[in-house]
């Protein structure tokens, strides 16, 4: 069982090495066959040089695509190289790689296609700011309205996909702020989506891809994207869940 740990990285020279090393430590300690794949989204700092010093696969994008395009590159690689699962982990150290084990366990036990690591099930670890939590709650309701599923942490970037889900995401993945939108895409492609409680940390370096002023744009753009993904894909699902 091969797992690709896809790490989208844009200006993450401070945190990237420890993320890769933690993944490799996980491999050593648990025997899970996992490969760290750093997708450098045309960083302007030393991300790629730092990553090259570690034991990982580097996918070096020639232009900046945004997080969605970067993650999708990793998914495409995972498909090409015949990985069984891919797990997306942020390059800023927010996601402790040790949590991957929980995701994998949930995926296999519950027979799911997509597993999301949620901060809000056990409510432990870094809980994000109040305004962001308001936004996340809003996405939870929007997602529930469109797909009928309850996902507590739809913006979580810590998620695992099996091969079936990889094929869909590799083919068609949003560029900007892809997390909530892709859930609608998965739901209407008849994938089974589940969540598992994880603990996240505060970022160890770099800045969020979503600035303060961009938040409103984020809310509006993602709502629009979720709605149109719903229109585009709703007919693929044979019966309402």
């Amino acid at each position: 069982m091969k797992i690709a740990a896809v790490i989208p990285a844009y200006n993450e020279e401070k945190a990237i090495a420890s993320v890769v090393n933690e993944i490799n430590a996980l491999k050593k300690n648990t025997g899970i066959d996992i490969v760290a794949i750093v997708v450098n989204d045309c960083s302007r700092d030393q991300t790629v040089q730092v990553a090259a010093q570690t034991d990982c696969v580097i996918l070096d994008l020639p232009v900046n695509l945004g997080i969605g395009g970067a993650v999708q590159t990793g998914f495409k690689y995972a498909l090409e190289q015949n990985f069984d699962f891919a797990v997306q982990i942020d390059g800023d150290g927010q996601h402790p790689p040790a949590e991957i084990e929980k995701l994998l366990k949930t995926m296999l036990e519950k027979n799911l296609d997509v597993v999301i690591g949620s901060r809000f099930i056990d409510k432990i670890g870094f809980q994000s700011t109040f305004m962001r939590r308001v936004g996340i709650t809003y996405f939870m309701f929007l997602n529930k309205m469109l797909t009928g599923q309850r996902i507590t942490d739809s913006t979580s970037g810590l998620r695992m996909l099996n091969k079936k889900a990889l094929e869909i995401a590799g083919n068609n993945y949003p560029d900007e702020y892809p997390e909530p939108e892709s859930l609608v895409l998965y739901a209407f492609n008849n994938l089974r989506i589940g969540e598992v409680a994880v603990e996240m940390r505060e970022r160890q370096g770099g800045v969020s891809s979503i600035g303060t002023f961009a938040s409103l744009y984020y809310l509006f753009k993602v709502s629009l994207a979720m709605f149109f993904t719903y229109l585009r894909t709703r007919n693929r699902r044979p019966e309402k869940l």
Binding site: V39, V57, I58, L59, D60, L61, P62, V63, L65, G69, Q72, T73, K76, Y77, E80, D175
Partner: protein, 114 residues
């Protein structure tokens, strides 16, 4: 022929020549030049046929001829801008696929060397 007509005709013709030069130099693709050629042709037509504007305005029920020009051109500009957004979206999608393909190929090349 009045002065303004001559100025308009010269301006339109130079614009047409400029479009032609852009195409021959390969800076403008033919499919995007069509709309500009048609616009210039319309300008030239009305430069020669001055009463034309009045006649058409009365035909469609617009009482002040300049209003017809404003309404018509703004409408055409909006449609064309929308078309450009569609073209841009397609380009962005193609650009993304190419960038991803390059990253994957670079990695393949590296691993073949190792």
């Amino acid at each position: 022929m009045e002065k303004i007509q001559i100025i308009a005709i010269i301006a339109s013709l130079s614009f047409l020549v400029y479009i032609g030069r852009l195409i021959t130099k390969g800076k403008l693709r033919e499919e995007y030049s069509i709309v500009w050629i048609i616009c210039t042709a319309i300008l030239i037509l009305f430069s020669f046929w001055r009463q034309g504007l009045e006649i058409i305005s009365r035909l469609v029920g617009v009482y002040a001829a300049p209003n017809l020009i404003f309404t018509g051109t703004i409408f055409v500009i909006f449609i064309y801008l929308l078309h450009l957004s569609v073209v841009l979206s397609r380009l962005q999608q193609q650009n993304k696929t190419l960038a991803q393909e390059i990253a994957l190929l670079k990695q393949k090349k590296e691993s073949d060397h190792a």
